[in-house]
């Protein structure tokens, strides 16, 4: 077997952590932290997604390295799309263009 058996207890601990993080992010959203709200909510979402991918989707136990490469590729392509697009939108106001 390329993936070894995961104990049920592990799944339950991951589930408890995910539920706590959901409560945490929901609770934090009730407080107005201004510019910090979105980065904190996003960071918690990333942690939750990583927990699901590593344990529920067995990425941690996957012995085929090519599967790790593909899962990373998904993130890399998405990052390229978002960073290169936003790099345009964010910097548009930086230089004054004559006649604009």
């Amino acid at each position: 077997m390329a993936t070894k058996a995961v104990r049920k207890r592990t799944y339950i601990w991951v589930w408890i952590t995910l539920m706590c993080l959901t409560g945490l992010t929901g609770g934090i959203s009730l407080i107005n932290l201004h510019a910090w709200s979105a980065p904190i909510a996003f960071a918690i979402a990333v942690i939750k997604a990583l927990l699901v991918a590593t344990f529920f989707m067995h990425l941690l136990y996957e012995k085929q390295k090519i599967v790790w490469v593909w899962s990373a590729v998904g993130i890399v392509w998405l990052t390229i799309m978002i960073v290169l697009t936003m790099d345009d939108y964010v910097t548009r106001g930086f230089l004054r263009v004559a006649g604009k």
Partner: protein, 227 residues
């Protein structure tokens, strides 16, 4: 597989029937199936990624309109749905555990519970859509807004309906796939050596869960005025 000879002849026959001719052994077939599923999931990342890109660009341009739009989300419904999906994922993980151990009872029951939770998610989502309909928040058809920037608030709702609509469609497909898997599992088609369809359906389900994990803060948590 050195212990194959110890297994029941019934399982052996099933395993032999499940091995497609282009593969040398079941392990090789399973590796190909897992890799193929991950490649498909990456294309799904890009599918949702396009809409998320649109959300990021417009939220950057109109942060205030998006914040006002988010206030009209049903915060509790979104939070409960997040919990429902995470719990469904837990039971799908248990189902895979059951398949690996050859525990048919655990497999079938966990799949049924996951399907039930998936339907609960869709029902709550439907309740939310109904609420938006009654509140005249359906862009293009019936959209009324008293805030300062109705055009861009409408844009938030366009993205909301596309993102959650496509996510709900994926949920519907996920529930259907789990239903088919449950039928085969019930008939005893899967063995500890061969249960690729269970593993791949589970990967799909967890992926749809991850999409929601990101949609929840994007759509529900940027308003700060829920109480």
């Amino acid at each position: 597989m050195s212990d194959t000879s110890l297994k029941l002849s019934g399982n052996e026959a099933l395993n032999a029937r499940s091995l497609h001719e282009q593969y040398a052994e079941l392990d090789q077939q399973r590796e190909a199936a897992t890799l193929g599923m991950w490649v498909f999931l990456v294309t799904e990342v890009m599918f949702f990624g396009g809409m998320i890109m649109g959300y990021i660009a417009y939220r950057f341009a109109y942060p205030e309109a998006f914040r006002e739009g988010s206030i009209h989300m049903l915060f509790m419904a979104g939070t409960i749905n997040t919990a429902v999906l995470i719990t469904a994922s837990l039971f799908v993980a248990f189902a895979v555990h059951g398949a690996r151990e050859g525990n048919r009872k655990l497999l079938v029951w966990c799949l049924l519970i996951s399907m039930f939770l998936g339907i609960c998610f869709l029902a709550i989502k439907g309740y939310e859509y109904h609420d938006h309909w009654v509140e005249h928040k359906v862009p293009g058809i019936d959209f009324q807004w008293d805030g300062p920037d109705p055009r861009h608030a409408e844009l938030f709702f366009v993205l909301y309906f596309f993102l959650t609509g496509f996510h709900a469609l994926h949920m519907l497909i996920g529930v259907t796939v789990l239903g088919i898997i449950t039928c085969f599992a019930w008939k005893g088609r899967y063995t500890p050596e061969y249960h690729n369809p269970v593993e791949n359906a589970a990967l799909y389900w967890h992926f749809v869960d991850i999409v929601w994990i990101f949609l929840y803060p994007m759509l529900y948590l940027i308003g700060h005025q829920h109480l």
